[in-house]
Amino acid sequence: MPQGILTFAEQRDGAFKKAAYEAVSAGAALKGDFGGAVSAVVIGKGVQEIAPQLGAYGADEVLAFDQDFLDKYSTEGYGRALVQAVQAKDPALVIVPATSMGRDLAAWTAAKLGMACAMDSVEIGVEGGKARARRPLYAGKAFAWVEPKDGPLLVAIRPNVFAATESAPGTAAPVAVQPLEFSADNLRAIVKDITAPAEAQLDVSEADIVVSGGRGIGGPEGWAPLEELAKVLGAAVGASRAVVDAGWREHAAQVGQTGKVVAPSLYIACGISGAIQHLAGMRTSKVIVAINKDAEAPIFKVANYGIVGDLFEVVPALTEEFKKVL
């Protein structure tokens, strides 16, 4: 009988992602519902050093896969390690963050194990001792509860939705370094390199505040007021598809049904009309501010606070006001 909860703690370059703490905390919050312990899995190079930190977020133990060849993410390297961990622990619930890495890993691992899987979930529930998850469909135009036909469930949780809670500050979790049941020869598609933009940019899917621009900006130039506002707020700059398709911004910044789905605590939409495909990507933001010169723009229907006006006047004024209070 599967028991306990296994969580995947994502790290890159020896530092845990916030999503790692969210995954471990989500597991810790459900401790007891499935019997057994809350275990965390860490995969990478030199990760033994950082593994104990997860105790603070409620991990009872950490399984570490620490190998030079696991330095960078690869589907089969990390996938095989997670498969091995699941087979060792036989958990009732597996929690993985639904980041780029986590989604890839979750899909492959579920396939390899023949396990039920819920992508991009926003809630985990328990029904008759079985795990279930609530997840958006149609880019958030509907939400479904999904559950395994039988057996355990692998849930990928949407970043920024579950709290990262330091439930046991200062607690170091015991670390069990795992022997490998596979080798570098098993990896057929390998990440050779990761290129980062010259200036590190905050990703819209990771940011707590997103300032987005649309066709109202008028061109590839004209983004300075938004970038200035984003800088003051520590926000990421997002974009509508119209401006991405026009080549004014990178695809990585696109918010919406065919871009990124974001759920920051504050979303500021500037010169964006609010098409159904854009709303799908940001309507679960906690608070939405919209600036648009057209009072009839659909974006105002979802905006907690709307300002009718020219963004080139309103955005700099907002920046000045934020500077006063931050």
Partner: protein, 250 residues
Amino acid sequence: MQITVCVAVAPSTETKVKIAPDGRSLDTTEVKFELNVYDEFALEEALRIREARGEGQVEVVTVGDGSQKEEVRKCLARGADTAVILKADIQEADSASIAAALAARIGAGESRIVFFGKQTVDGDNGRIPAETAVALDWPLVAKISKLSFDGDHFVAHREIEGGVEIIEGDLPAVFSAEKGLNEPRYPSLKGIMAAKKKPLEELPVELGAARTVTVDLQLPPARPEGRIVGEGAATAAEVVRLLKEEAKVI
């Protein structure tokens, strides 16, 4: 080189979602179906590889109830050589059961490149490419935004948070396409005419049992009624005050 492109015919992104009386599926009565957005990039990439190599065949495969014919025909019009509808009732299917049918078809053929879209716009799963790769025991290279080949060796790019992964490997392989991989072409009139004569086969298949089941589908809680605070730059101070004192997000 034989290339397979797996496509889904999915509700248009303009769909206003209504829940069916069963409480766990989409009411499709007024829904327009079209080729899944990401699958357009998958098909385009396959066509470009065929063109670059100057040889080969592109086959489009979908698992569906048969109502996908018109959209599949459009893939032929864009330049695919052949198409197959693996005919089954997909109402109760999940990623695993659809992938099993796809893998059986691909495994029995000559393809060494399989393309998918990164996810369907209705399920937002992105699981079928992985399920298929595992069933075939081929490497998976998901969500790619760039792809190049040197013979059987490939280099692919994948956008991750704040960077791009450069991924290398050898065929055979399963790829899934992110938006931005290419600019999909529109079918030409010549293509549309030619498509009428291209083979579009329907093959009945048995789907295995689903592992993941949807038990309840609901509309999201409504957001509070939108509120316009005021006009022009003079409103900025009030909005910042509300964000701090009322919404408490800053």
